[in-house]
């Protein structure tokens, strides 16, 4: 019996060492993480807040909406976590490439001289003022350099261990208990998430805090709108000069812009940019469609859109490609 326990202990110790080794090596971690449940399965806002009542699975089955593919269009999307789940089957284009904003400095723009090159520059509303204030796209090049395809997964071992070990279902009741106590007695909540307002929806606090310029309620004056529009024009011109035939912009609204009621009025950033007479490019406008949609287009426990919101955007994007 004693020997059996020792063998069991030894094997347990070895298993833990394997987990530590996996967490400290990014290549092994990528493989290991496939066996762990996704921390985002109940929404990113639930993940960071553990707010009781919001543990709802957010998995979205996104079916490709088209059968035929327009072979003569090469589509590129610059985007973020809203658009990074799409693949070539979702677009009516001959080829498709996604570039995350974070990777812009290391990325080579894919220009295919045999096709019509279309680029959609998409951004969530909360980052639009920051992204379009800087001339980030001017750092693009068409020259291939050796690190063009490097991976972005380079998490520290501690974060990897968190990913592997701290998002298991049995832990959630404890996390929710802690959240309830902190909220009820200490009036504290996850700093990343706005305190629940009883409307059945969680919001990123940066999108609701009027002092934060990512917020839908942070005032934007006309001079800033002018600067943003001028920068977007510059980006558009730069992309055309690189070789793109058509450039589109798309600003995906914050959930707070659509659903949150606030004492300070919404700054109407998207409409003011889209309706400005001086813009030299086209928009994929989903703000109006989202606003008119009776059903919710955002998940209640996640900062991202739901299947309906995605589909509306996808249909709008494909409408552009259908006419090519």
């Amino acid at each position: 019996m004693k020997v059996l326990f020792k063998i069991l202990f030894f094997l347990l110790g070895c298993c833990i060492i394997v987990i530590m080794a996996v967490a400290s090596n990014s290549a092994w971690f990528e493989k290991g993480a496939a066996y762990a449940p996704s921390p985002f399965r109940y929404g990113d806002l639930y993940l960071v807040s553990s707010m009781p009542g919001y543990k709802i699975n957010t998995h979205i089955e996104l079916k490709p909406p088209f059968n035929k593919q327009t072979k003569n269009v090469a589509l590129t999307i610059i985007g973020d976590s809203y658009t990074d789940k799409f693949d070539s089957t979702h677009f009516n284009a001959g080829s498709y490439r996604f570039i995350h904003w974070n990777n812009i400095p290391d990325t080579v723009l894919p220009i295919d001289r045999t096709k019509k090159n279309i680029i959609i520059v998409s951004s969530t509303e909360r980052y639009a003022r920051w992204r379009f204030t800087k001339d980030q796209l001017l750092t693009f090049s068409t020259q291939i350099h050796p690190h063009a395809d490097q991976t972005v997964v380079d998490l520290a071992a501690e974060l990897n261990l968190q990913y592997l070990l701290t998002h298991l279902d049995w832990q959630d009741p404890f996390k929710e208990l802690k959240t309830s106590i902190y909220l009820k007695y200490f009036d504290k909540f996850s700093p990343a998430v706005a305190k629940p307002d009883g409307t059945g929806r969680l919001y990123l606090s940066e999108t609701t805090d009027p002092k934060n310029n990512a917020s839908s309620f942070n005032p934007v004056n006309d001079a800033e709108i002018k600067t943003l529009r001028e920068n977007m024009n510059k980006i558009s011109e730069q992309l055309c000069a690189i070789g793109y035939d058509e450039v589109y912009f798309s600003i995906i609204p914050n959930a707070a812009s659509l659903y949150k009621t606030s004492e300070i009025p919404y700054n109407h950033l998207i409409e003011r940019l889209q309706q400005h007479p001086d813009v030299k490019f086209k928009f994929i406008d989903v703000y109006d469609s989202f606003k008119q949609e009776k059903n919710s287009v955002f998940l209640c426990n996640d900062s991202h859109w739901n299947a309906l919101g995605r589909m509306i955007w996808l249909i709008k994007a494909n409408e552009l490609l259908d006419h090519k």
Binding site: G13, C14, I16, M20, F174, F186, D187
Partner: protein, 460 residues
Amino acid sequence: MLFNSLQFILFFFAFFFILFSIPVAMRRPWLLIASCYFYMVFKPVYLLILVAVILIDFCAGIRIEKSKSNKRLWLILSLVTNLGILVFYKYFNFLNENLSLIFGHFGFENMIPALDIILPIGLSFHTFQAMSYTIEVYRGNYKAEKNILTYSLYVLYFPQLVAGPIERPQHLLPQLKNPIRFNYSNVVEGLFRIAVGFFKKVVIADRLALFVDPVFDHLPDSSGLSVILATVFFAFEIYCDFSGYTDIALGVSKLMGINLAENFKNPYLAFSFREFWSRWHISLSTWFRDYVYIPLGGNKTVRWRWTRNILIVFLLSGLWHGARWNYVIWGLIHGSLLIIENIFRKQTNIKIPIILKITGVFIAVCFAWIFFRVKEVKDAFIAIGRIFDLSATDTLPDVFNSAEMIFVFVLIAGLLLTEGLIKRSSIKNYAAIIFITCLLFFLSYLFGEFNYKQFIYFQF
């Protein structure tokens, strides 16, 4: 590797599961391998420095014992090696900066460039521990260790490697020679001590830091009341942070049947400054007492020499904490308080109620903590200035609501009242200890602040 990190928790379980499943003869080598890994997580290449120091001190110890004429030479070699590494990594840039200031004052330029180096973690602790070994062998108080594995463990022993307690060879080395065996009572007591330390760190220290950090980071904008409260909170933050680390270190070590030295004995209940230093960071204060203060003449000398000795010891103690002038001033304040206390005690016969003594010592210690907490000396004077600007309209930063503020005070009161009892109690009802341990871990999770805030003394 932080004790409050997932990495340490996994390391801890992997280490102990394997330790108690392998043959007894393999356990000490396994402990050494684990200790090396623990140190290498910070910066692997720095292990080479430690290995070099271990080899030099190990050989020096043997040579000191064997040699009759060159004893002193071998001791000097050991001390120069240890102090040389300490000075190079910790004080070189500080000395160089001050040299530049002096040169600049006379219109010269200091041509020596600043070094871009990272301080090896726990350097001050393991250097002092290594020096105590060769000094004790030199004094004939301890026989030189002949087994390199045992001596390596003495320096590299992971539970106390990065923040003490600074052990003496007489206390630790004999325990490291013993075979490591599983003992149920050691495991229960060790886990209990770990739970206490973990609770002090994540529930009390890291919660208090939420209030202390913004106040000290924005001193000119803080009210007098905020600075006073932040100073008092910092006194308990640093105590819970450091003693929490020590509790975890003692607990982890206890699991292997190795008893490390106690480092704290309710220091904020001290009723004199002398007593405070016999209760706070005991392993460091006794180190300075035995290797600096007494060799300088201690108190068996005329008053001015004694005064000089005290000031030297506390100046070095301040410098030991860091190469910054605010630590030097912190040390000198404590030295001055001891001197004033001694003069006062000898020249007056006034009986002061003990509660007033405890309060007086606590206030003075808090005042000194201001110099310890700030980044630059001028910030300490800003903090003191804010305290003197105290007014009835002062407000507090919006960090704690009233319920959390009450919670914080209950935690502090509970700490002062129960800690002494916990250490003195001899509960042998293991079921009760296991229950309290589980409860403490659960409460640590429920009320803990898990922001991976580093232990304050790791930087030393």
